[in-house]
């Protein structure tokens, strides 16, 4: 990637980050959304996160891989447990990345 492309890419990331963070607090402030939109939007975070993570942990090369060779599927188990119990981003990352590293070390 050239510097120009990286600059454009950063610009796109700034827009993609600032629009959802800034708009509700500025021009949308005091203009409540319709009830249905509000409820629908309330389900979007869980929906997006689950839609993003499912292919990462259940698919290997685009195919369903429900077996013990699937390192990400196995590493997801301690991650889910720690995320559920602690709600801590750092603890979940440590558990997940640690599990993935250990599993690969054991498999090697």
């Amino acid at each position: 990637m050239t510097h120009l492309e990286l600059a454009l890419c950063t610009g796109g990331m700034i827009l993609g980050t600032f629009l959802p963070r800034v708009l509700p607090m500025t021009i949308l402030a005091g203009r409540p959304l319709p009830e249905a939109a509000r409820v629908w939007l309330g389900f979007v975070p869980a929906a997006v996160l689950a839609a993003l993570v499912a292919p990462e942990i259940f698919l290997v090369d685009g195919r369903l891989a429900l077996n013990t060779d699937n390192i990400f599927l196995l590493a997801a188990l301690p991650s889910i447990l720690v995320a559920w119990k602690t709600g801590s981003l750092f603890a979940t990352l440590a558990a997940g990345m640690g599990a993935a590293a250990l599993l690969r070390w054991g498999a090697a």
């Binding site: 990637m1 510097h3 492309e5 454009l8 890419c9 950063t10 796109g12 990331m13 700034i14 827009l15 993609g16 980050t17 629009l19 959802p20 963070r21 800034v22 708009l23 509700p24 607090m25 500025t26 402030a29 009830e35 249905a36 509000r38 409820v39 939007l41 309330g42 389900f43 979007v44 975070p45 869980a46 929906a47 997006v48 996160l49 689950a50 839609a51 993003l52 993570v53 499912a54 292919p55 698919l59 990400f72 590493a75 997801a76 991650s79 995320a83 709600g87 801590s88 981003l89 979940t92 990352l93 558990a95 997940g96 990345m97 640690g98 599990a99 993935a100 590293a101 250990l102 690969r104």
Partner: protein, 262 residues
């Protein structure tokens, strides 16, 4: 006249106190963001993002999951509009947080409010919302000190990771390639205490797998998320038919808190 300096001094002291409070609030987040930033810096370099640009992104964008996704997409050769959409999609969750903070941040001038809102990550939202709910007044000194303290950990971590990234031959033995899925799980699981949210997440996972295996590509994530949120809306309508949907956690964040009297 001595009175002038006496008027100035308490203001100055209170700004300092607010800055210190903000830094204290941001410190635990800073400590968590350093290793996260290292992971991001290494992955960014491995995906062909120069270390300097990775640091620039951490300064200008400051979005953990969004930056991780962008690094992966850059490595996969995605187009710039696709990277923008990927960021927008994963950051949509901030719409709710921003709306929830709005009544408390109202005293800030519009430009300061926009700048403050741009720097509120998931963790900063959690800490500041709790602070506001406990009755803390809206102080720009405290809010910006808190945001900047946390961000300094993210930027420092990115720099460390970016520098050492070229020394790491492969990220896999360190489990660094699992950082993004682990981050998604860390953000997702706390939402799943609510049964409707859990049902939405499970349908999103199912739709996403089906669409991806059917070959819908990147668009399958947006389609699956939109379909699952609609399922959630439908379920909440059925469940709460006689009374308006009420709840806790993420999905009431858009409604202003009732104790708001500022």
């Amino acid at each position: 006249m001595p009175s002038r300096s006496r008027i100035h001094s308490p203001l100055h002291l209170s700004a300092r106190a607010e800055i210190l409070t903000g830094m204290r609030m941001g410190l635990p987040i800073l400590i968590g963001y350093v290793p996260l930033g290292i992971a991001y810096g290494v992955l960014a370099v491995k995906n062909g993002v120069p270390a300097m640009w990775a640091v620039a992104m951490s300064v200008l964008v400051f979005a953990g999951a969004g930056q991780f996704i962008a690094a992966g997409m850059i490595g996969a050769g995605a187009s710039i509009p696709a990277i923008f959409l990927g960021n927008l999609m994963v950051n949509l969750r901030h719409v709710l947080m921003s709306a929830a903070l709005t009544p408390y941040a109202q005293p800030l001038p519009p430009a300061a409010r926009a700048l403050y809102a741009a720097g509120v990550t998931d963790e900063l939202f959690a800490v500041q919302m709790a602070d506001f709910r406990a009755g803390a007044p809206c102080s720009s000194w405290r809010l910006f000190a808190c945001n900047l303290t946390a961000q300094s950990g993210w930027v420092a971590g990115t720099a460390l990771g970016g520098i050492s990234g070229s020394l790491v031959a492969d990220v896999k033995p360190y489990g660094l390639d699992f950082a993004l899925p682990a981050m998604f799980l860390a953000l997702l699981l706390p939402l799943c205490g609510d049964r409707l949210q859990l049902a939405t997440a499970l349908s999103a996972a199912l739709f996403s797998l089906l669409f991806t295996m059917a070959g819908a590509g990147r668009g399958s994530i947006i389609l699956a998320a939109a379909a699952a949120a609609t399922v959630g809306l439908f379920l909440s309508r059925r469940k709460n038919a006689p009374r308006p949907p009420s709840g806790r956690g993420g999905h009431t964040a858009a409604s202003p808190p009732e104790e708001d009297s500022a």
